[in-house]
């Protein structure tokens, strides 16, 4: 019934606009490629010792569930780290299989209709089928996050509407649905048939407008997710899906089977979270995170403190703006510096060889050129099957990406040295290496430096994508900001990245004084 692809709301669900954004064919293609590569290359997972790694998808509810699991384990004496907002369903599933993460939260509907799509697994067989992947699941956490139909609480109360079937008696109600819901086979078209709904006023509109419409009374009914933050914010009533039209999306934790031997207490602790989170609780937590902009880590800590009898309360270290900026700066600089230094060390010799050994010229320039044409996002994704997630694969991708400008400028710089100068150097009787070091490289220095500068600036920008594979850096606040529809947060990543690019630019102006001989900088 549901189309098992990226339009699945469980992938990225928080802001209504995100629903629309994710339906882009490119990400679907790269996801397919990724799955293919993963299937091809993945062997056994690389299990990490002791510390439990919790993952989460890139949407608020997923991040909160990740934080809950992390705090819960920690407060019960199990070391845990949370690698937040790593990506979509496939990404997390593969990270779980490979052992990059030990657990993450997902939904029954997503398992059946996306991860195990086409295998015709019945809900009862889920544990068995997952076991063949080396994965176990907890029982549902207690809430179902699926498509739902909602109305203003007072309006529903006045009309006596509790379930979707009740809508049948009110043909004059005005429906305003998200465009996606209007189009989806399992959205309005089938809902209307299943419940034989008679309403004639049915409009497709942006989700934000639909909420506004409910508020001002221009529409009466809209679609939403059953744990959406807006339910609390706008005082909505979620109508009972009495004919069970929408598939179940029961939230639960998936964890690696080997956790049972490696950290039996962790597996047992996860089970203690089963059935503890109601839809109302989840909705309230989503609302605090999305609407009140309370950090997910605090929302999760408050939840645990309130509902569990913990030996000692979960405390959250509030990150200040500056400590967060500093952390992201460190991560970003590390990505840039390591990848750029490696690129310099490799690319300059490659450029030299391309000039000196004629037979290699086309191969070298061609290869680095082809690497450069791979979209940076795809290059990052290609790294995952080879190296997993986090900083190192991002560094390798950035390194590869940084090669071309340096190789090409080294090649061009050496190539453009005037013939008479080369002849003079040759005539002196200097051996080749001395000639390269003392004559050719200094003469090409300006061009090489310009290549490094280009690489560095591109690298600073591209490194923001590293956050997509868990490498952190300035991309992290950008990702979170996009997820939370929070421009301020996006700017906390975008502005420092731009400033860093300018700083890099300026540093290279200084570097020219050091690396380009004075005689080349003087005007005659």
């Amino acid at each position: 019934m549901r189309i098992p692809d990226e339009t699945n709301p469980k992938l990225l669900r928080q802001s209504p606009s995100a629903r629309v954004k994710i339906q882009n064919p490119k990400s679907k293609t790269s996801n397919t490629i990724l799955v293919f590569l993963l299937a091809l290359l993945f062997g056994a997972g690389t299990a990490q010792a002791q510390e439990i790694t919790v993952g989460s998808k890139k949407f608020t509810e997923g991040v909160i569930l990740g934080e809950i699991a992390t705090h819960w384990l920690e407060s019960n004496g199990v070391e845990a780290v949370h690698r937040a907002e790593l990506g979509g369903t496939q990404f997390l599933w593969q990270a779980l299989l490979s052992g990059d993460i030990d657990l993450y939260a997902d939904y029954t509907g997503t398992l059946l209709e996306e991860i195990l799509a086409g295998q015709n697994v019945s809900p009862d067989d889920l544990p068995e089928v997952l076991a063949t992947y080396g994965v176990r699941m907890t029982a549902p956490l207690g809430f179902n996050d699926t498509y739902a139909i909602g109305m203003k609480e007072e309006r529903a109360e006045a009309l006596g509407i509790r379930s979707i079937s009740d809508l049948r008696d009110h043909p004059d109600l005005r429906f305003g649905f998200s465009n996606e819901f209007m189009d989806r086979a399992d959205g309005w078209p089938s809902l209307r048939v299943a419940y034989t709904l008679p309403q004639s006023f049915v409009r497709g509109m942006d989700n934000d407008l639909a909420y506004q419409g409910l508020e001002t009374g221009t529409i009466d009914v809209t679609d939403l997710y059953s744990t959406a933050a807006e339910i609390a914010a706008y005082g909505l009533r979620v109508l009972d899906d009495d004919l069970v039209h929408f598939p179940e999306y029961q939230a639960l934790y998936l964890y690696r089977s080997d956790l049972v031997e490696r950290a039996p207490e962790a597996a047992a602790l996860l089970q203690r979270l089963e059935g503890t989170i109601t839809e109302a609780m989840m909705t309230a937590m989503n609302a605090r995170a999305v609407l009140d902009k309370v950090p997910e880590t605090r929302v999760a800590a408050d939840f645990l403190n309130e509902h569990f009898d913990l030996a000692q309360a979960v405390t959250v270290q509030e990150e200040t703006f500056w400590s967060r900026l500093w952390k992201h700066t460190k991560e970003h600089l590390l990505l840039v510096i390591v990848s750029l230094l490696a690129a310099i060390l490799v690319a300059i010799p490659l450029g030299v060889v391309a000039v000196k050994v004629a037979s290699t010229e086309q191969i070298i320039l061609g290869t680095v050129g082809v690497i450069y044409t791979i979209p940076s996002l795809a290059l990052l994704v290609f790294m995952i099957p080879l190296m997993g997630i986090g900083g190192p694969p991002a560094m390798v991708a950035l390194f590869l990406y940084s090669l071309l400008p340096i190789v090409r400028n080294t090649h061009a710089g050496l190539h453009d040295i005037p013939g008479p100068l080369l002849e003079s150097a040759e005539a002196l009787g200097l051996p080749p290496m001395a000639k390269l070091r003392q004559i050719e490289l200094p003469l090409a220095a300006r061009s090489i430096l310009a290549g490094i500068q280009t690489s560095a600036v591109i690298n600073v920008g591209t490194a923001t994508l590293g956050a997509l594979i868990g490498a952190g850096g300035y991309g992290q606040p950008i990702l979170t900001g996009i997820r939370l529809n929070d421009t301020g947060l996006i700017l906390q990543g975008a502005v420092p990245a731009a400033v860093l690019a300018l700083v890099v630019q300026a540093l290279f102006g200084l570097a020219e004084r050091v690396f380009v001989a004075k005689g080349l900088r003087l005007k005659g």
């Binding site: 008479p420 100068l421 002849e423 003079s424 150097a425 040759e426 005539a427 002196l428 009787g429 200097l430 051996p431 001395a434 003392q438 004559i439 200094p442 003469l443 220095a445 380009v516 001989a517 004075k518 005689g519 080349l520 003087l522 005007k523 005659g524």
Partner: protein, 250 residues
């Protein structure tokens, strides 16, 4: 010192040099002259092993030039091209001392040699700290000559060393160069396309045309007994400077 036997060079279908024998007189100045494209530079490059002949042998001090000894031989030759061929990223001094430093000369020895050469080519010492772009054309050429002489080579090869200079500076430098050649008594091969310059420098003048030596000898041999009409035509084409020279020497 230098000896070329049956040396020839082709570039694709163009013949830069037909099989040629040439033995520049040791301790004397030999001038290669001829119209543009006749093979003068090719001949000079063959002597210092910058290009390898298609056929024939180049001998230096009795030993055939080959890949294995070419770098060692180059250290016993100085090579100066138009504009001096100075490295723009190095100061005049560093240009001059580059090879000597590579060979591990100590500071005192370098300083002494640089001072000696600066005096020889009459370059003010303060110019040595400057970069090529800061020097005049004539000064660059003097630095180029210092660089060629720093290891005290047996042979000095100069390819149109005065070609890019304006006439006043050029005649000053001509006089200085001739004085230096006379004083050092090195085997000099100098390329020019100017008959006056050839006569001024050359103990022996070698006239080339289209990759062949047409005639070689002293200036008066070429003038009085031209080997073929081309020699006469070439000399006549450059009569004016010759007349001036005739008056001066007469």
């Amino acid at each position: 010192m230098l000896d070329l036997q049956g040396v020839s060079k082709h570039y694709g279908s163009t013949t830069a040099l037909h099989p040629t024998d040439l033995t520049p007189a040791s301790g004397k100045t030999t001038v290669l002259i001829g119209p543009s494209g006749c093979g003068k530079s090719t001949l000079l490059r063959l002597m210092i092993g910058l290009i390898r002949p298609d056929a024939g042998t180049v001998r230096f001090d009795g030993t055939a030039l080959g890949a294995e000894n070419v770098r060692a031989v180059r250290q016993r030759m100085g090579y100066v091209i138009q504009e001096g061929g100075l490295f723009p990223h190095l100061t005049a001094r560093d240009n001059v001392t580059l090879m000597a430093r590579h060979l591990g000369w100590d500071r005192a020895r370098l300083d002494a040699r640089v001072a000696e050469l600066a005096a020889l080519v009459q370059l003010p010492e303060e110019r040595l700290a400057q970069y090529p772009v800061q020097l005049s054309g004539g000064q660059r050429q003097r630095v180029g000559l210092m660089r060629a002489l720093v290891l005290d080579p047996d042979v000095l090869l100069l390819d149109e060393p005065l070609g890019a200079l304006d006439p006043m500076i050029r005649s000053d430098l001509q006089a200085d160069l001739r004085a230096i050649f006379r004083k050092l008594q090195k085997t000099v091969v100098l390329v020019t396309h100017d008959m006056g310059e050839a006569g001024y420098f050359g103990d022996v003048i070698v006239l080339l045309r289209a990759g062949r030596i047409v005639q070689q000898g002293a200036l008066h041999d070429l003038v009085r007994t031209p080997a073929e009409p081309f020699v006469e035509a070439f000399i006549n084409a450059q009569r004016n400077p010759l007349d001036a020279l005739g008056r001066q020497e007469g």
